[in-house]
Amino acid sequence: MADLFTHLVSARLPGAFVRDRRLQALLVLGTFLPDIGAKGLYHVARCGENFIVPTHSVLGLLVLCYGASFLLEERLRAGGFLALLGGALLHLAVDLLKDQNGMGAAWLLHPFSPVGTELGLIPTENVILLLPIDAAILVATWLLERRLRRVQQ
């Protein structure tokens, strides 16, 4: 996984354009959902390595987000589902940037295809180099949000 800070930043920037603060929060939660699912199944439920594959596939995330949306009140559920799913797909997009020696960082078409996919742009050990970029994007997002809020007022 990329570090959580990078995942957070990847959701905060598009989140600046979401007016409802609750949906904005759910978009951020959605970016953590694949890793919450994977780590929960692996470390807490003690499932095997292969069991967690659906948490990093499109179909698996679709179902996971649908289930998670039922933890929300009915009025918020449909929008919450889309926000969670958007965040989760952003997570996959960020993970795809990784270089895992050709092993694949996500199994997009699982269970229809066993092929793992990666773009191989960032070796996993180099994620520390993303921290200053993340911080800069976060500050830019904050400024953008302030400006958008001023325009709305």
Partner: protein, 152 residues
């Protein structure tokens, strides 16, 4: 689809489907690499599994193979790679129970930044803690406040 009708069935169905996908993946797939020590402990079980070792130090190197140290254990890798003892590399390949060893598929020299990853992880956990606090602010159930506002 998102209504409260058959709430329990929808929630249980989604959960069951995720678990079924996981079970299907576990039963039929060899997607994610197991820990190298598991492969060495049970070579027959993991024979033919694709394995990725993100970072390990080379202990010794020959023309057609090299031995690296991972999780405190020596691990033989067969394949040609321009490496020398002391180098830090990431490798991937197929685990072979005979030996046991790894048939090299891809490799790359490490950048030496792996130790810094802990800092990135520490930042991540601080960020996660702040986010959870923020969530409590947005989603906390405050019945007393709701009653005062006449919501219920």
């Amino acid at each position: 689809m998102f209504s409260n009708r058959a709430f329990g069935w929808k929630l249980a169905g989604a959960l069951a489907l995720v678990l079924a996908l996981g079970a299907a993946s576990a039963a039929g797939g060899r997607f994610i690499n197991p820990a190298p020590w598991r492969c060495l402990a049970q070579p027959a079980r993991w024979d033919g599994t694709r394995l990725w070792i993100p970072s390990a130090r080379i202990l010794s190197a020959g023309p057609d193979s090299f031995v690296l140290e991972t999780e405190g254990l020596p691990f033989e890798v067969r394949g040609r790679a321009a490496v020398a003892p002391g180098d830090v590399v990431g490798v991937s390949g197929t685990f072979d129970a005979a030996g046991p060893h790894l048939r090299l598929r891809e490799w790359r020299k490490g950048s030496g930044l792996r130790g810094w990853r802990r800092i990135a992880e520490a930042v991540s956990f601080v960020v996660l803690a702040l986010i959870l606090l923020n969530f409590l602010r947005h989603f906390a159930c405050r019945p007393a406040l709701a009653r005062a506002e006449g919501v219920d």
